[in-house]
């Protein structure tokens, strides 16, 4: 064999080996990607189940359900679909001595059912699991106290991590974390409570399978004006809510026992995940209204957060909006931005976006305290909205003599749009006169449903041509509840 052939063979072998190695090195992305299982994306906010779901479940993290009726909690189940669905509501009490109880439900299209949990499982607190053999059902829970009530969505997602950015345990404030474990196996949770004076921990808090457990936070960290909680499950998955009760009970208007003028109750969900951008349908600055945006950073890096406020009337996109406000949130800490203290922000209603400028994820909540002249103080907490949607469901509304309902729709897009607000009825979605509500670019539309007349149960939908944020505000002498709606097919903004 000639040397030429030998050279060809040697060269070919060398080229193939070296070339392959180079090609392999170029394509090396640092390890194999772990494939995903399933098409379901993690939904970090309450959302309806897929239209073709076989079963779906809603988890209500907990409301007061004492037998004495001093407080109460209800769960409202609304069928937003077009067919009758069967469901089972299981009430899970916080008292281990009380057994869970079930209530079968059958919901015609557009129908809603309100269940008082104390009637099923009288206990200091009770959570609920609503198991739906089908889809199209939305569920909210309501906490009712003599000094206020709060209605917030339940969730269809359990998580191993929950974040609660705000909370207070100052004098006479009560802060309770409710931990619902809807699954058969136990969950073991580590709790980190970050306050202005440092952190406290509760390690290995066990939440038995199919039960509700509460953490009386004000007994763990006393007299703290700002308490942020991070709950991380070692095993299992849970749903975490928080019940904040402000000031004495029963409240006395203008009582010196309410020196800070705050009062009321809130019972929203925590945030199941950190994110880098959130939205709020509205924030307000004005007399009697104190709005704070509380940003919690449970991570190990400092977060730089920009808060952009867009006036209710909208902004000409070609001109641009006001200068964003910047917050620097140290690791494992929370920082509150009080609009009242921001002199550059004129009074008024704004839509808001809160985003991280350095990529550090965070959690944010909007805390609103109302101190209406001559009325009861009110309090509401609303988690930031990490996803937008073109369609929202606001299930547990009402218009009565004592309670008014408004629907706020924020348009984060840079074009003017018209949205439709309709009522859910057994016949489907009814035109209630708000078929084309204009919403300016980056503006907020306010739809007052009082014009509809008294309705004990008023579930409405919001449909928009672009992703928006919809919020419901229930107001009355003893009611002040603000809650983001339930998304149908949420998308990242």
């Amino acid at each position: 064999m000639s040397g030429r052939v030998r050279g060809v063979v040697l060269g070919l072998v060398a080229v193939l080996l070296v070339g392959g190695l180079l090609l392999d090195a170029r394509g090396d992305d640092g390890g194999a990607e772990t494939p995903e299982f399933g098409d379901a994306a993690t939904v970090p906010l309450p959302a309806l189940a897929a239209a073709d779901a076989v079963t779906s479940s809603w988890y209500c993290p907990g409301v007061p359900a004492p037998a004495d009726g001093s407080e109460s909690g209800t769960v409202t189940v609304v069928n937003t679909g077009a067919t009758t669905v069967e469901a089972t509501l299981t009430a899970l009490p916080s008292d281990p001595a009380v057994e869970a109880a079930q209530a079968p439900l059958s919901l015609a299209p557009g129908a809603s059912v309100r269940v008082r949990l104390a009637e099923l499982t009288p206990a200091p607190y009770a959570g609920a699991v609503v198991e739906v053999f089908g889809t199209g059902v939305a569920v909210e829970q309501t906490t009712i106290r003599v000094n206020g009530s709060d209605t917030t969505p339940c969730t269809g997602e359990a998580s191993g991590r929950w974040y609660l950015a705000s909370g207070s345990t100052t004098l006479d404030d009560q802060l309770v974390y409710t931990l619902l474990n809807p699954f058969p196996d136990d969950a073991v949770v580590d709790v980190v409570l970050s306050t202005e004076q440092g952190s406290d921990r509760i390690d290995a808090f066990v939440v038995p399978g199919r039960s509700l457990r509460v953490i009386q936070v004000d007994e763990v960290v006393r007299r703290r004006a700002q308490v942020a909680g991070a709950l991380v499950a070692r095993t299992g998955r849970i749903v975490v809510g928080r019940i904040q009760k402000l000031n004495p009970d029963p409240p006395v208007p203008d009582s010196p026992e309410a020196p800070d003028g705050r009062g009321g109750v809130s019972s929203p969900l925590g945030a199941p995940a950190l994110d880098t951008a959130f939205a709020f349908a509205s924030v307000e600055k004005g007399d009697g209204v104190t709005t704070r945006l509380v940003v919690a950073n449970p991570g190990e890096r400092e977060a730089v957060v920009l808060v952009e406020l867009w006036p209710e009337a909208g902004v000409d996109p070609t001109v641009g909006g006001p200068e964003p406000l910047e917050l620097t949130v140290p690791p494992r800490a929370s920082v509150a931005l009080s609009l009242a203290e921001e002199e550059l922000v004129p009074p008024g209603r704004y839509s808001a976006s809160v985003r991280s400028s350095n990529g550090v994820p965070f959690a944010v909540e909007r805390v609103v305290d109302l101190a209406p002249p001559g009325g009861l103080p009110a309090h509401s907490v609303t988690p930031g909205v990490p996803r937008l949607d073109t369609r929202w469901v606001l299930p547990a509304g009402m218009v009565t003599a004592a309670v008014g309902e408004q629907v706020l729709v924020a348009n984060p897009s840079t074009e003017d749009v018209e949205v439709a607000v309709r009522a859910l009825t057994p016949g489907g979605e009814d035109d209630i006169g708000f078929e084309a509500v204009p919403v300016a670019a980056l503006g907020v539309a306010v739809v007052d449903l009082a014009s509809l007349g008294p309705r004990d149960a008023l579930a409405v939908t919001v449909t928009a041509p672009v992703p928006v944020v919809a919020e419901r505000v229930l107001t009355g002498p003893a009611v002040h509840s603000r809650a983001t709606g339930i998304a149908v097919a949420p998308v990242r903004p």
Binding site: G20, L21, D24, F37, A49, A50, D52, E86, E131, P184
Partner: protein, 1193 residues
Amino acid sequence: MAVVVAHDPGVWFEEALAALRHQDYPNLAVLVLDTGQEDVAARVQGVLPDAVVRRLPGDPGYATAANAVLDLVHGAAFFCFLHDDVAPDSTCIRLLVEEAYRSNAGVIGPKLVAWDDPRRLLEVGHAVDKGGVLAPYVERGELDQEQHDAVRDVFVLPTACLLVRADLFRAIGGFDPVIAFHGEDVDLCWRSHVAGARVMVNPAARARHREAATERRPDDRRRLRARHRLRTVLTCYGPLHLVRVVPQLLVLAVAEALYALVVGRTRQARDVVAAWPWNLRRLGQVRRNRRRLNQVRLVPDNEIRRLQVHGSARLTAFVRGQIGHDADRRSAAAAASRQLVGSLRHASRQSEFLAAVGLVALLVLGSRGLLRDGVPAVGELARFPSSGTLLRDYLSGWHPLGLGTTAPAPTATGLLGLAGLVTFGAMDLLRTLLVVLPLAAGWFGAYRMAVPLITVRARVTAAVLYAAIPLPYNALARGQWGGLLLYAAAPWVLARLARATALAPFGPRRGTAAPRLPVRSLPAQAVALGLLTAVVTAFVPLAPLLVLAMAVLLVVGSLLVGGALDALRAVAVAAGAAVVAVVLHLPWAADLLRPDGAWSALGAVEGAGEGELSLAALLRFQTGPTGAAPMGWAFLVVAALPLVLGRGWRLTWATRAWAVALGSFALAWAGQEGWFGRGLPAAEVLLAPAAAGLALAGALGMAAFEADLRGFRFGWRQVASFAALAAAVLGLTPVVGAAFDGRWDLPSTDTARTLRFLEDEADDGSFRVLWLGAPAALPMDGWWLREGLAYALSQDGLPDVRGQWAGTPSDPTLMVPAALNVAGDDRTDRLGRLLAPLGVKYVIVPLSDAPSVHGRPTHPVPDSLTTMLATQLDLERIDIDAAYVVYRNAAWMPLRALLDPAAVEASRRAGWDAVAATDLTGSTPVLTDADGVRTAKGDVPAGEIYAAVPASGRWRLTVDGEVQPSRTAFGWASAWTVDQGGEATLEHRTPVVRPVLVAVQVLLWLVAAQFALRAVALGYEAGASDRAARRRVRRVRVQGAGAGAGAGAGPGAGDEPRAARRGWRRRKGASVAPETGPAAPSVPQPASSPVLPPAAAPGGPGPEGDAAGAEAGAAGAAGAPEGMDDLDDGLGGPTFAEAWAASTDEAEDEGEPGWREGLAPAPPTWEPEPDEPVLRWAEWADSGEAGGREEGR
């Protein structure tokens, strides 16, 4: 009465008869028993007019012929049995008779000396050991200086000339007619001892023996002797000694067979082993012989044993070189084992022996933990059920794979079931052997693959390099049984493909074929390779495609260096083999290959292992813990040597070997990169051909080192050679290191221990386990779920080996991924309920192939999968071990259950909605007395009985003997409405066609095996004919040389002065290319075959050579006629060396291809003497280089 048994005797016959005529014994009568085709009566009458001649037609054999005297002769006192080539001295028979009377001997024989040279001793009786192995008292060829002339007792006398008392002969029934030749002497003498007779030798009586039988009877003497020895042992010992001796003989036989296998003497191993079944089949005859012998038994076995050599003559001599304290027996036993020891004296043999010892030590060292503690159930190394279970499963028409299938059972279950019978049901032992022995099989395969490369060092290099490649150890560590089996098979396959090309030296094309290669037709090769492929395919279904790929890669390599058209023969053989393999696996193969079949059924899972291994890791075979850089690169360095040094076919075949290796690497890499879109088997399976290719290249490197390096001036090539040597040594170190833990990094615990609780769960009702996760982590073969994920189902606990070949999932089984996808898409949080009607009680996600205590590399699963499972309302997590995510299905219902009313209602509907909304936990288990998976019994109440098996008329429920009406439940399963409770039986009835198909499949295997064996035999015979022809040619030349010598040219002065000058001899059996000329070989050789140096053996220098040359010269001087036939008939007489080789066990123990291969055994002068220079490959290559070099031109 002198009894001569004649069988077509040669020209010596008259001389033998004349010797009888001259006997001085006064009353000698002669009876000639003629067993040949040619009537010898006239020849007898011409010499012994008074002799009686009786023809015994049909060649009954020596023993039967001799026994004829029992009927033909009456009144004689003695029978003196004589071969037709024995010439007793005139006083011989008289002296024997006198001594018989004097010593009261029952059997007595003379001193046998060489026919042509009576000064040299042949035999003066033999001793035997306990196993009947002969231990001659004299060294053959020893000069007779009266040193053995004492009359004495011996154990065995040859039947060449044997005086037996007639009454004794009658009493013991004469010779055993089954032992026609080779061993009849031991049998007769042993029985004589048992009967109380003395067996003696009287050396004063002398007879010349020509020992011409071997020229006339091409018997496979080694095989016959092994059989007959064992038969004699079984016949002659009493029961107590049998119990003691037979196991020892069995152990020795196994050891000898293993040793023979290690050193490449497969036929010897086969002969040793085959003696046992041969005798087992004839136990009835043995019993009859024992009964007859017991009637005359006078001497107990312990006295018989005193007459025998202690221990094993061969083994003891092999180990110590000497045995015992008795000088005679010591020398006798030493002679008996001379061949074994002598074969190790040569340097190349020593390296071969050392390599074998080293590899066996490596195997034992590295596998000692596995041999001691068993193999853990890791990865594909699942446990084996009982042999009966496997066979029943194989025969059955229903299998519990997935939710159950009526597809044909994998052939592997049948093969393993049969193998279990061989191990007498010791399935753990079988499993251990099937895990450990593939290592040795691979090493031996590499050794055999390199046989055509001529040199022993090349073979040793191939074996050692193949053993040093980390592939099998990583396969073991990862529980990849398939990779291990492919590792074992790859060198065998590559060798067969190489031979199919017939490219030199694997065949005669484009050069000269290596010696001793069998000649087979392409169909025969295809069937032989197909049989091998079929065996591998039983366990690795993708094997036929890999075999085809290897053949194609050989063609690709040939495109560079020539011979592509010839290499296409390999593709044809591979294609034929693939077809044979597929046919042999029908009907299972039909299920695998059906149009709608799953790709995973072929042993691949989509996305399996993609991206786990870089190309660098693949090139180092580092698929597991062994083989890290830099030493992992050693194999490539070693294998590159022939590309640098090689010439001729060393270079061309190195290129082809590299083509196979590179192609295999590329295939494995492409699989890792996911380029195929389809899944591929584990990397170890795909890399096995690469390992074989590199081993072949390494062997070629050694051949090039020996042959080609000296052709270059001193320079970088020499440095490269030593670098390759250093790399080879370095490359061994990781494997040696891996061997020290004694388990090849396999964990000591396994899934079976960690999840043992599953075994007890069946008490609460039969159930299934759903396994989810990375394909490599599943304890059984899985089906594709989503990218990188697979699922599988086992019944009533952990899976066993039957789950390793999943096939195509049945339609009902596809409900499992459907349910999982519903949950994965977040369309339900009631996965437990969806799985409940399937009987799934546990969902297990293995994150590793072993418990976490071993810190094994994990097989991660996507968080979304664990999240999905964690967010199901009816799956309860059980903490067992960090390596397993275990969920118990809280909504489970038993696999066989009495449905509660809600479940009855739900079961009448199909679809997820029905089961998701229904709590089925109220159903209670029934039919809990299960016999396997196809029959269950128990009392059932009235109601709806449910079984989570696909609805089929083959499932039948009888209650108190009455067949119950069935219906479909949940749209797929079976349910029966039982109006009145009672004792119930649920069973699956296998269709009649199934056993028929099994019978057909078994028949196909037998036919293929028969065909392959026949082809092998014919191939060897063809090769033997070739060799025999070459030998004849050589003898013609030797004869000519001898004639020259006889004429004064002197010993060894042949017509090839070069060979004579060098003074080497051809190694025994190392035949050369045939010469052209009048004495052309019977097998045609290409015209390009080179003319090689002639065999100088008989005429070469050295003592034997001198003698042979002298003999041959004398024969030539005597005017021996020209022509092979005449020569083969012995005109001029055999040389002493030929006679020596023809009449001793040493020749058969040599392990040469066998007596059947050549009518005339090779003379011993072909066996290199220890201190003699031997034909080195380089010299051979020099002489044959023309062909090799031509190939490259």
